[in-house]
């Protein structure tokens, strides 16, 4: 009986087009949209080579420091090329700026001046770089002055100044003070979007569980009525229905994983067993949610689906599906909300596998999911016990 029901339950689930659309196709489509929209976002936030212009007048050509420094910063073979410079006259610089072809231009008259259209990042960098060049000149003057005052010179003054200048310039290039970059290599925040997608799919699995359980409920389907009057063990039947929906759910999740890993290049971290553990626990949470909604509410199937979808979408929203900032805002300002949100438990689990080096946060999420599932199952058992109908 167990196997018989399992087989037919699987068949009916796979033949339900709406069900397969929401739990199989929709996550794949949404994942593709995410990929198309977000694949470039982190690259476009990185510093690009900035187009600027310099007014090529006499004053600029006389200022060796500015001329040399900007030439170095725009050399195409330089490792850290910062600018792409056009040397033009004032009228053309103005036109270029007007047509948004450059971020700004440098005009040297009595003192250097930066002209930009609006205030922004590229404009700020142009300003800062120009300032740094002028400040470095100031440093050289100060140091030479100090050395002239404090040392007794033997030999010609020009030679001495030349030496100090060269020393100082080499110091500007190499600092004895060290900065160490200790950033983690895994900082890709768009990954969160895909984690919420997996989480959403896991909980949408609840729809599958709910549909399967409806087949066994006397008040939901004719099939259920027949089962209710038949002399079979109800626990066996319900359990095999749940197992079949769990199988359908896992297959859907597996397809989604394959698609996101191989086609969309999503990074789930390297801990394979933990990823499986989290997916199975997440699916269990979805299944138990579907079971609870299916048994507790005495309403029609569409409304039950509506409840599961609304619950999952709200959870996805709070865990960052429509903008990852939302997850951070909730996590820092109202942590209890996301600690109770099963979508976030799954999302946060993947996040901690990807970004964290320790497993405390991961296990916390796994345990939360298990507790959530347990509560849902207990509620369903209470609702299912001793169901009897005199008439329906």
């Amino acid at each position: 009986m167990f196997l018989h029901n399992l087989k037919y339950s699987l068949k009916t689930l796979f033949k339900n087009k709406m069900l397969i659309f929401w739990t199989y196709a929709f996550p794949l489509i949404l994942g593709t949209f995410f990929y198309l929209a977000f694949s470039n976002i982190e690259n476009s936030e990185k510093l690009d080579i900035i187009d600027i212009a310099i007014v090529d007048n006499e004053e600029f050509n006389n200022s060796i420091a500015l001329k040399e420094s900007f030439r170095n910063l725009s050399g195409e073979n330089e490792q850290e090329q910062l600018f792409n410079i056009k040397y033009v006259d004032l009228a053309e610089a103005k036109t270029l700026l007007e047509n948004d072809e450059i971020a700004g231009y440098l005009l040297v008259e009595d003192s250097p001046k930066v002209i930009v259209k609006t205030s922004g990042i590229n404009e700020t960098i142009l300003k800062y770089v120009t300032e740094e060049i002028i400040q470095n000149e100031d440093v050289l003057t100060n140091i030479i002055e100090e050395k002239l005052n404090s040392t007794v010179i033997d030999g010609s003054i020009e030679e001495f100044i030349q030496n100090v200048r060269e020393d100082a310039i080499s110091m500007l290039d190499t600092s004895s003070l060290q900065i160490r970059d200790i950033t983690s290599k895994k900082l890709s925040y768009t990954m969160i979007e895909f984690y919420t997608l997996i989480a959403m799919t896991a909980l949408y699995g609840g729809i599958i569980g709910m549909t399967a359980i409806n087949q066994n409920l006397a008040n939901m389907s004719n099939n259920g009525k027949r089962i209710a009057v038949s002399p079979t063990n109800r626990i066996k039947i319900i359990f095999s229905s749940l197992l079949s929906s769990f199988i359908v759910q896992i297959i859907g999740l597996f397809i989604l994983f394959m698609y996101t890993v191989f086609a969309l290049k999503v990074d789930y971290g390297n801990n394979f067993p933990m990823i499986i553990l989290l997916s199975l626990t997440g699916s269990l949470a979805g299944l138990s949610l579907g079971l609870a909604v299916g048994t507790i509410f005495k309403i029609n199937e569409n409304l039950k689906t509506g409840i599961i979808i609304a619950f999952t979408m709200l959870g996805s929203f709070l865990s960052g599906m429509m903008g990852i900032t939302m997850k951070y805002i909730i996590d820092t300002n109202a942590p209890i909300v996301n600690k109770l949100n099963p979508v976030n438990m799954i999302t946060d689990g993947f996040y901690s596998l990807y970004y964290y080096t320790t497993y405390n946060r991961f296990y916390f999420n796994i345990i939360s999911l298990l507790i959530f599932s347990l509560i849902m199952i207990i509620l369903s058992v209470l609702a299912l016990r001793r169901q009897k109908y005199d008439s329906i």
């Binding site: 659309f21 949209f33 990185k46 930009v116 609006t118 990042i121 400040q135 100031d138 600092s175 003070l177």
Partner: protein
């Protein structure tokens, strides 16, 4: 009139669902507008920085922190490693600076007249005085420049001068040399980019709202019995379609008005000439959404499929055309595909409008062209709908 009456009766029947859906979209537009505030305005030139000072806050260490406070936004985050790492991951800060305990001592030990033995002792030890974590984006690059600049100055001046105050004074004096910067544009780009973001997002809400509600209502007209009665009536199918379309437009215009009013409440005032174009553009797009919805509803017969179609159509065109993620951040090939979708032309106009300074024939030309493309889409969808209806009638 008969058609419109029936339409309003059906609308009345579904009013709870329609109202709930509309409220949800409106809320979503409003909420998203506020929370996304940070992401869109990447024009702010002060990076968000977190400083973790493990040294004493005196002398040159204090001066370094004061300097950073002047040129960056110092963030205050709970001092535990997890919160700090989370803040970096979610881009709450762009740059984290750990000032090591040996910061001040290492800089001052450069001093020219210090005991040689002491110098050697220091130079043999770890010379890392600052550790950083960076998101590697634009803002972080600025923070990087600022930190490097200060440490260079500190290094050079501490090699030349002995007294800490003298070093600090020289650093401050050098840093106070600024370059004059002149702004040529008088347009308030900040508000305009916010308005543009709002109107771009509106394309999702309007499209989703129209497709969902119109498909829902029209599915009642698709009921076999009702459909048969409509067909045998004396009304021509073209005239029937037109009347139905006009009734739908009425609903859509109400929806559109709600969003325009919400826009006023959220964003406040912008120059009238900009506002007029934003409003005209969104109006044309709303009508276009109606014709899309009308076309889709003529294609499908299954009421259960509506939800799926709404999500695929509305989310699809919003993601591909830049309603959620700004157009300039989308990959080129996505934008090429997007050309076939009406949302692209609508959003393109909003983006163009953001950069306009003077309204003349040159700046207005591309905007008007985009609007014309939208109108062509409207006509195309109406014609297609009629073709579909005719084909179905022949069957």
């Amino acid at each position: 009139m008969t058609v419109f009456k029936t339409f309003s009766q059906v609308l009345n029947k579904y009013k709870a669902t329609v109202l709930m859906y509309t409220v949800m979209l409106v809320l979503f537009g409003g909420l998203n507008f506020k929370t996304s505030d940070n992401n869109v305005n990447f024009t702010a030139s002060k990076p968000d920085v977190l400083i973790i000072n493990e040294d004493e806050n005196i002398g040159i260490t204090k001066d370094f922190i004061d300097y950073l406070s002047e040129y960056t936004n110092i963030k205050d985050i709970e001092n535990n490693e997890d919160s700090i790492n989370d803040a970096l991951f979610y881009r709450d800060v762009n740059y984290i600076i750990y000032i090591k305990p040996n910061f001040r001592e290492s800089i001052l030990s450069n001093s020219p007249n210090k005991d040689e033995q002491f110098k050697q002792l220091i130079s043999s030890s770890d010379r890392t005085i600052v550790e950083i974590k960076t998101t590697g984006d634009y803002q972080a690059s600025i923070a990087d420049m600022l930190v490097n600049k200060y440490l260079h100055l500190a290094d050079i001046y501490s090699n030349t001068f002995e007294d800490e105050n003298e070093i600090i004074n020289h650093i401050q004096k050098t840093l106070s040399l600024e370059v004059e910067t002149e702004l040529t544009s008088k347009v308030d780009t900040n508000t305009l980019s916010q308005v543009t973001f709002y109107y771009n997002f509106l394309s999702y809400s309007v499209l989703a709202g129209c497709v969902y509600v119109i498909c829902l209502i029209l599915s009642s007209f698709k009921n076999k019995e009702i459909n048969k009665r409509t067909i045998i009536s004396s009304m021509n199918y073209k005239s029937f379609n037109l009347k139905l379309l006009l009734s739908n437009c009425l609903f859509a215009i109400v929806l559109w008005l709600i969003y325009i009013i919400l826009g006023f409440l959220l964003v406040g005032s912008i120059p009238t000439n900009y506002l007029i174009i934003y409003i005209i553009n969104s109006f044309i797009f709303t009508i276009c959404s109606v014709t899309i919805a009308f076309f889709i509803s003529n294609l499908i017969n299954n009421k259960n499929a509506i939800n799926g179609i709404v999500n695929v159509v509305a989310l699809g065109s919003s993601f591909l055309c830049g309603a959620f993620v700004p157009m300039e951040w989308l990959p080129d090939f996505v934008l090429k595909i997007a050309h076939v979708l009406p949302s692209y032309w609508y959003i393109k106009t909003n983006e163009l409008l953001k950069g306009v300074e003077v309204f003349n024939s040159i700046t207005l030309k591309p905007i008007i062209t985009n609007m014309l493309v939208l109108i062509v889409f409207i006509i195309a969808f109406v014609v297609l709908t009629n073709i579909v209806t005719k084909l179905k009638l022949k069957k």
